[in-house]
Amino acid sequence: MTTVLGMLIFIGVLFTCVIPLFLYVNQVNSIYDRTIVEMRQFDEERGRELIDVYAYPLNKTSSELNIYMKNKCPLSVRIVRVWVNEDKFDRSFEIPAMGDRVESINVQDLLPPQGEKSFNIKVTTDRGNTFSSYTNPLYYTMGSGWSGSTGLTINIVIETGKSQATRFFYVEVKDSAENVVYKADIVKKSHESSCFTAAMLTSPGTYSVKVKEGKTEWPTNPNSVTVNQNQPSQWVYANAK
């Protein structure tokens, strides 16, 4: 009788205390393992983020900077902030994989009342990455307006106005010997009022810029620029309104 009672109590302890304890520990371990896998995946996604950022003024004396962001990774990226020097501009928008977006930032309050000021622009994603603009630093001089960065580049801005249409442009940069040193197909999305490309150059010289839309060639201002160590970065604006 007592043996049976003892056995029943032992089985009771086994089923109400020991087995649930093992099951619970197993479940908690599963949560821990799952968290490790999730965080590893999160870190991997963070490492995969890649955005090309180009900041450029809308025109020579504009108080607005356009930030062109091209998502070059296979994941959607959410932008949470744009930094202009030490000032932050909170934003919240998503750029789909391989998509792009132009965001305008009003820097009227940051422009110098006199003299020159440099501007460094970067964007932050919700995964904690920051990407600096390839056109950093931009310079603004009171009176003469914007000038560009230190690398040999021609920054080409195509102004299209508020048209909702998607438009396709072809940009060609030729050197003084009529050799094509840069060419690119640029797409202006429906929500954009301008689009941008930067021609990285390997040597100083005088270059001409052509912007075409189908068979139409849009006027550029200026249509030829000289790039050298004193003026390493030049801006060219095409009026495609």
Partner: protein, 147 residues
């Protein structure tokens, strides 16, 4: 009447009842003790694992650094999935030159600015270390600009 007076075979029954009672009392006590111990074990095990989960879930980064008027400003962004508390920010330049030990809570997705009073000159290379309560660290370097 004979039944009441005949006491043969009574003691084994009484012994069995007493033994069963003892077994029941001891068994239930052991059961109760085991149950309490297992519940406590479950709770403490979960709390231990939860701490480790919180530690590995913490993600934060030094998003921006600026130096203004004997004050280094460090912006820390919590991009993880748990709230964090920053307990120490150290700034080194061939040794510790500035420190902030006021605990700063940072909620999920929040950006906070931490001020560290220190004196640096243009061109100084600074190394910044931020430590959280869970003993996670992030590091950054910063060169004090000339302008």
């Amino acid at each position: 009447m004979r039944i009441l007076t005949d006491k043969k075979g009574l003691s084994p029954v009484v012994a069995t009842i007493i033994l069963s009672g003892v077994v029941l009392i001891l068994g239930i006590s052991a059961w109760s003790l085991t149950y309490t111990v297992s519940i406590n074990l479950e709770t403490s095990y979960y709390e231990g694992i939860k701490k480790q989960i919180d530690k590995i879930s913490e993600r934060f980064t030094i998003e921006h650094i600026a130096y203004y008027g004997n004050n280094l400003q460090v912006w820390v962004y919590n991009y993880g999935e748990v709230d964090i508390e920053l307990i120490e920010v150290d700034v080194y330049k061939r040794g510790l030159i500035g420190q902030n030990k006021t605990g700063t809570p940072v909620a999920i997705g929040e950006l906070v600015k931490i001020d560290i009073p220190l004196t640096a000159t243009a061109g100084d290379d600074l190394s910044i270390t931020v430590m959280s309560r869970m003993n996670n660290f992030v590091y950054a370097t910063y060169v004090v600009p000339y302008t």
